[in-house]
């Protein structure tokens, strides 16, 4: 039931602090718009979260936007084939689906508390284990688990802190909201494996990741011990060696309303849509 012909395209975008937005515009070759709305087509709509995006496009048969692949199945939206490739985990893993971004983490470089430091160290190690990776997958991350990956059991001896009772230690997690549920699952699992430390989560966005661990806010009220980003570090974010790393990949899917007959799209088309070269659905042919 494609009645979109002739209708205007409504462009939806996340706000400029969003890691998803960062990844999206970077990958489609429209980096200018990464943080600058003024490059976007007139009449774009800025939404403040993945959920808002889903809700908005669900309600707008002429809308186009982008969401995290992990939420696609439950979103009730139509995910478009990007450059001819279906947005599936397999395609992401095998590298054919190009519209992806990394989930990264970043920890403090200086600690005041030894126990905290030891637990954070252990957590970094934990992230490389199959235990962690399966949990990431469970929470929508895309990562391969191979026999090369250690199990936590096999390496935990290196981290004697985890044999202690850590229930009085609080570790502050935060950063990207896209990573929030994954981070919570990881911390919950790791807490159980590492002396039941208390995991306090305060996710406000990727922007916090560097800022609150090593950047300007690292000693501020909302400092973090371990933080996550749903994008790459930018030029102004320069974490110290060994305090950051990649966890997994997340795919971004271009989505339209289910009633839209469009099935696939190219990076070129998306850019044209977002910069206003194309304003009508009729100008895009399948």
């Amino acid at each position: 039931t494609n009645n979109t012909t002739g209708a205007n395209i409504t462009v939806y975008t996340r706000d400029t602090t969003s890691g998803t937005r960062d990844g999206f515009f970077t990958k489609i070759g429209f980096s200018e718009a990464k943080e600058d709305n003024s490059y976007l087509v007139e009449g774009y709509v800025e939404v403040d979260g993945n959920g808002s995006m889903i809700a908005a496009i669900k309600n707008d048969e002429y809308g186009i936007g982008y969401i995290s692949l992990s939420t696609l199945s439950s979103s009730g939206l139509k995910g478009l084939t990007y450059e001819g490739i279906e947005p599936t985990e397999a395609n992401v893993l095998n590298g054919t689906y190009g519209l992806t971004r990394n989930f990264n983490y970043c920890v403090r470089s200086e600690f005041t508390d030894n126990k905290v430091e030891a637990i954070v160290d252990a957590f970094e190690a934990f992230l490389t284990t199959s235990d962690a990776k399966t949990t990431m997958i469970e929470k929508g991350g895309i990562v391969s688990v191979t026999s090369l990956d250690p199990t936590w059991d096999s390496i935990k001896a290196n981290y004697p802190i985890c044999n202690e009772d850590n229930s009085s230690v609080t570790i502050k997690f935060g950063g990207s909201t896209s990573v929030e549920s994954m981070a919570k699952a990881l911390s919950a699992e790791f807490s159980a494996k590492c002396g039941n430390f208390v995991a306090e989560h305060n996710h406000k966005g990727s922007g916090d990741a560097y800022k609150s661990t090593q950047g300007s806010e690292k000693d501020g009220a909302n400092y973090l011990d371990i933080a996550f980003l749903s994008r790459e570090f930018n030029e102004s974010e320069t974490p110290a060696q060994g305090t950051y790393g990649k966890m997994c990949i997340d795919a971004i899917v271009v989505v339209v309303n289910n009633s839209n007959s469009l099935d696939s799209i190219t990076a070129e088309q998306i850019k044209s849509i977002y910069d206003g070269t194309i304003t009508k659905w009729s100008e895009i042919s399948n």
Binding site: G140, V145, T146, A192
Partner: protein
Amino acid sequence: MRKTKDLLSNIFTYLFSSFGIIILFSILIFIFRNGLSSLSWKLITSDYYETTYTLKTAGKEEGTFTCPTLTADEYFSYRYGVVLKDSTNLVGEEVVEITYIAEDSPFLSLINTSSEEIVSLECGFNISKIVMSNDIGDYIYALGRGGASNMASTMDTSNIITDMVASEGGGGIRGSLISTLYLILLTLIISLPIGVLAAIYLNEYAPKKRFIEIIRGMIDMVAGIPSIIFGLVGAIIFIPFCNNTIGSSGGSIASGALTMSLILLPTIIKTTEEALKVIPKGYRDASLALGASKTQTINKVILPNAIPGILTAVLLSIGRIIGESAALIYAVGVAIKDTIKINEKSTTLAVHIWSLMSGENPNIATSCAISIIILLVVFTLNVIVKLISKKLNKMEVK
């Protein structure tokens, strides 16, 4: 002529008021329709964070159990003797839930990976992942998002479970409920005495001078400031203040209470003043004419009679605290907690909703369920306060 005019006016009134009433009711209906299904005692009493167990099996299990009768969405693991079911948790995520564990099931004697203690799972636990490794060291794993069917069949491959994460509970609002109560209490402790005393000053002592009018105007102005501004103020004044005094880090219930106190002071002052104004001047005159001092007059006559008004102020305040989100998001934060301490972050119910809604997977049903709880709380408070104030209202003769 008059009749047509009357008729027209009446039509207008009925039209507009029914419009207004319909809108208001449709909101209630919206909330109840979306929220009623998620509303449960469990939601109120359970923690937000699930209790997570990381487990492994004691050894290779080869048991074959007999399958009980299954309903739709239920799957049986013959090797481990458990029935798994696709279901959703309180937050609305899809999970795999254990609905049956056979006697002698190995799941009744699993080993906790960290403490090496024996743990037995129970019905109602969710399994979020099971990792096994096969003989060549490859990982075979089944995840909650893969569904119960997949998990059950994966479990029945003949491998040892090396890592398993099971969890219990979660998604509840107990913490937020408690912290809401804490916040209410603390805020009232701070603002009520100050507000009432200021109201007493303004109504009983203040001379009729320009200066006092200015003071009144300033207090009125505070009432006009939107809460988001208070949020900012809380963030730049009270959070550092609390960090320095009571050792909190970042926003805390205390900083939130201080912020809310600012918001509420004008309301409390105004409402109390209204209550004081209603007290007939005769009482004051009579008391003074009996040789009571002003302080005695206030203690014995004015305050007891202002109690219904002060209760109203309390009610209004509580309503405001419960409904407030913008200010608290900044002055406290959005981190949902289960153990509540005054000098730590946590969320009120409204912020809890905000938290739920701003995540990757917004959850309207739970949000509405919490709204219903808020409505119930406010309603009960309303009723209680009205009853109490009716009881206490001495100026009304029963």
